[in-house]
């Protein structure tokens, strides 16, 4: 009896979260895919269902015959969507690189810090992550506005003569993404650098490497797993980012997250926004699997 009970309880540990994720994470993607193949209708919900499970097998087969790839054809014909995908990928790639440039020295400095103050530094990096994302993006509006704090400071210092236009440009989006995602880049790089054996660098220097060569030949390659994890944590969500381009970007800024949002909320075109989401998912599937591989490897730590 107790053996059967314990076997059941160990099964439940797996089954409960597994079933939950199947229903609320995996199944929705199939629904999105199904709706991306249907046609728009003026109704609620605003699409004609492709098939109904109540119709049984014949109904499903009938439905498959009615599959329409119109939404995907539409996406390829309208340059707006293509440009939005390309510009999202470009903006995300540039921002990821800029984040890396800023985060690496910070993580390196933290790893070199005296052991006693490292927990405090770590806490200080994590803390902004707990405060609202929306609030942190919002805070930049007051700084970057033409009459904002940055321009006031630069005018006061005499660096510039007339206010810089930063808000509602791509520059503002880069600042927003770098700022919001910085902790995601610092943390994995720091944990890779902190685990590193310092004597390796000493050995390289004893063998005649300058500190700079020792860094590029020893330290940087050893920190690569952290760099890769950090880049994935920034790049993947940044491609589909909505809040940052919406609040900091201009009206001419194209990002796919914003396009999807508008297609859904303003145009109420559910099938097209589903198709946009499916294509975005297909673009991101490779980096996501890359990220999962890295995660699974670190599991065995």
């Amino acid at each position: 009896m107790s053996k059967a009970l314990s076997a059941l309880s160990s099964r439940l540990v797996i089954i409960i979260p597994f079933v939950w994720l199947l229903i609320f994470f995996l199944a929705p993607f199939f629904i999105v895919f199904r709706i991306s193949l249907s046609t728009t209708a003026i109704a609620m919900p605003p699409y004609t269902p492709v098939f109904d499970l109540a119709d049984g097998i014949s109904g499903i087969l009938e439905g498959i015959r009615e599959f329409s790839f119109d939404n995907y054809v539409w996406l390829t014909q309208d340059a707006l969507y293509f440009n939005a995908y390309i510009s999202s990928l470009t903006i995300a790639a540039i921002s990821t690189f800029l984040t890396l440039l800023i985060a690496y020295p910070v993580a390196y400095g933290m790893a070199q810090a005296p052991r006693s103050i490292r927990p405090t530094l770590l806490m200080l990096v994590i803390l902004p992550f707990w405060t609202s994302f929306l609030i942190r993006v919002y805070a930049w509006i007051a700084i970057l506005k033409p009459e904002g704090l940055l321009n006031q400071l630069l005018l006061f210092l005499g660096v510039i003569d007339s206010p810089l236009v930063i808000l509602n440009t791509n520059t503002a989006i880069y600042i927003g993404i770098v700022y919001s995602y910085l902790p995601f880049m610092v943390l994995p790089i720091y944990s890779a650098l902190e685990k590193m054996d310092g004597s390796l660098v000493e050995a390289a220097q004893d063998l005649g490497c300058t500190p700079t060569t020792a860094f590029w030949k020893v330290t940087f390659p050893l920190s690569l797993p952290g760099v890769v994890a950090g880049c994935m944590l920034v790049f993947i969500p940044a491609v589909g980012e909505f809040v940052i381009p919406d609040l900091l970007g201009g009206s001419e800024t194209l990002m796919i997250g914003k396009t999807l949002w508008n297609e859904f909320n303003a145009n109420r075109d559910w099938p097209v926004s589903s198709a946009v989401a499916i294509i975005l998912l297909m673009i991101l599937v490779v980096p996501i699997m890359f990220f999962q591989n890295a995660q699974t490897k670190s599991e065995g730590r």
């Binding site: 009970l5 314990s6 309880s9 540990v13 409960i16 979260p17 939950w20 994720l21 199947l22 229903i23 609320f24 994470f25 929705p28 629904i31 999105v32 919900p45 985060a103 020295p105 910070v106 400095g109 070199q112 810090a113 005296p114 200080l124 990096v125 803390l127 707990w130 405060t131 609202s132 929306l134 609030i135 919002y138 805070a139 509006i141 007051a142 506005k145 904002g148 704090l149 700022y179 910085l182 944590l233 969500p237 589909g240 909505f242 809040v243 609040l247 997250g257 999807l260 949002w261 909320n265 926004s273 989401a277 975005l280 998912l281 991101l284 699997m289 999962q292 699974t296 599991e299 730590r301």
Partner: protein
């Protein structure tokens, strides 16, 4: 090897300045007398007063807190189970799929998660509102809880569990009397993380909400679109204060528990 060079210190100071300056400025300007967020005109708390008269904002705050409390609690249960499944059972059918489903939501763009959950709720005919937001939040925050708890479980000494079972404890009793007390700090920080993620979420909540359930981020967002006002600064300052207080309490609790555990272990070793 601690070469705490001037370059290291400079990069940390610049990095941390970049992280904190916008938040500090936002808090300072919430006490501004002027309606302009960028011109200082003297100290005032009038925006906090007007905030507490804004019924729509207060209602939204209540919805948000109720969603966050409920979803964080359920997400902690599910996330802890998922972490146990991942660390304790190396092989089972669908393990690759399972770990994929745990890690993917960490990086999944919010617009995709929001859209797909909304379409699910429509397909199964669930009325949208408080409960659909809660279900959506449980789903995406449980994965963060799972990662936090998992990182504690991999360093867990299994021998004390085996000892308990050798002494006749059932697996369920072992979990509640041995495992859970040890991983409690991680479970607790998982809960706090899930709570703040839920408190913060705009995109997923906007997709999955229905009439009558407007959350605080949704309310703030619609006001921000109309312009930056000191009243929103005041609302943000209160949110930051609440979160900072929560994190402070969480870290004190965690540290006390860890110290207690170390003391207990040393005492046990001495016996």
């Amino acid at each position: 090897m601690t070469r705490w060079s001037r370059f290291n210190i400079a990069s940390i100071v610049v990095g941390f300045g970049f992280l904190y300056l916008p938040i500090v400025l936002l808090v300072i300007f919430s006490f501004n007398e002027s309606k302009l967020v960028t011109v200082w005109a003297g100290f005032s708390t009038k925006w906090y007063v007007s905030l507490f008269q804004n019924q729509a904002l207060i209602d939204a705050a209540w919805v948000t807190i109720r969603v966050a409390l409920l979803s964080a609690t359920l997400a902690t249960v599910l996330g802890t189970l998922a972490a146990l499944a991942l660390t304790r059972y190396r092989r089972f059918h669908g393990r690759v799929l399972f770990s994929g489903m745990v890690y993917a939501p960490l990086v999944m763009p919010e617009v995709i998660t929001g859209l797909s959950l909304l379409l699910l709720f429509v397909a199964i005919g669930l009325d949208r509102g408080f409960w659909t937001i809660t279900l959506a939040h449980i789903t995406f925050t449980m994965c963060f809880v799972a990662v936090v708890v998992q990182s504690r479980l991999v360093t867990f000494d299994r021998s004390i569990e085996e000892a308990a079972q050798d002494l006749g404890a059932t697996p369920v009793a072992t979990f509640f009397q041995v495992t859970l007390p040890v991983i409690a700090p991680a479970v607790f920080s998982g809960w706090v993380l899930a709570f703040t993620l839920s408190l913060d979420d705009l995109v997923i909540a906007s997709f999955t909400t229905g009439p009558g359930a407007t959350t605080l981020p949704m309310r703030i967002y619609s006001q921000v679109r109309l312009g930056v006002t000191p009243e929103i600064n005041a609302a943000c300052t209160i949110l930051i204060g609440v979160v900072a207080f929560g994190v402070l309490v969480a870290s004190i609790v965690t540290r006390t528990r860890e110290n207690q555990r170390e003391r207990d272990e040393r005492a046990a070793a001495a016996v």
